[in-house]
Symmetry: C2
Subunit: 100 residues, 2 copies
């Protein structure tokens, strides 16, 4: 399980990055936060795409993308106040399937 | 170490939640993502504040706050593309100090 979050100023670039993350199997948890099971090969593709985006002229000096690998512990103890992400059971179900 | 992220529509409420998180020792990593070492007592205070906010009339039906406890593994393998958070060494330094 990985969490990927971003601060990207340019709308068009932000949409492009979001689409890339979803394409490689991440789920949108919040507006700028994504989570999912991504295999090493998909992660390498995401990183390659990010390096390309970061080198492009839409990338601002304040923009950042964080890639955070999660331990099962995080998934076991996560809490939501307010609305839980759509398809949360499915997302965490995927994880359990991979772990068991 | 905890990661707390939010989607909060109302500006005034978002500012109030951000201030609460920072008050209890979290650091702003991205616009809507915070991280830090929070003791159980501080976490209980944050949760209590969030329950209060979520019950208030500024809270929208789409708003969410995620509280994700992090394992050392996440901190060891986190990556940033673009700008790294201000005081990142200090934030992770705090963590190492608490672990060792």
């Amino acid at each position: 399980m990985h969490l990927i979050s971003y601060d990207i100023q340019e709308d068009a670039l932000r949409v492009k990055v979001a689409k890339t993350l979803i394409q490689y199997g991440l789920h949108r948890i919040q507006y700028s936060v994504f989570m999912g099971e991504v295999k090493d090969a998909a992660l390498a593709k995401i990183e390659q795409a990010l390096v390309g985006f970061a080198a492009g002229n839409q990338w601002s000096a304040q923009d950042s993308v964080m890639i955070l690998p999660l331990h099962q512990y995080s998934e076991d103890y996560v809490q939501f106040f307010g609305v839980s992400p759509a398809r949360w059971q499915e997302i965490t179900g995927e994880m359990h399937t991979l772990i068991l």
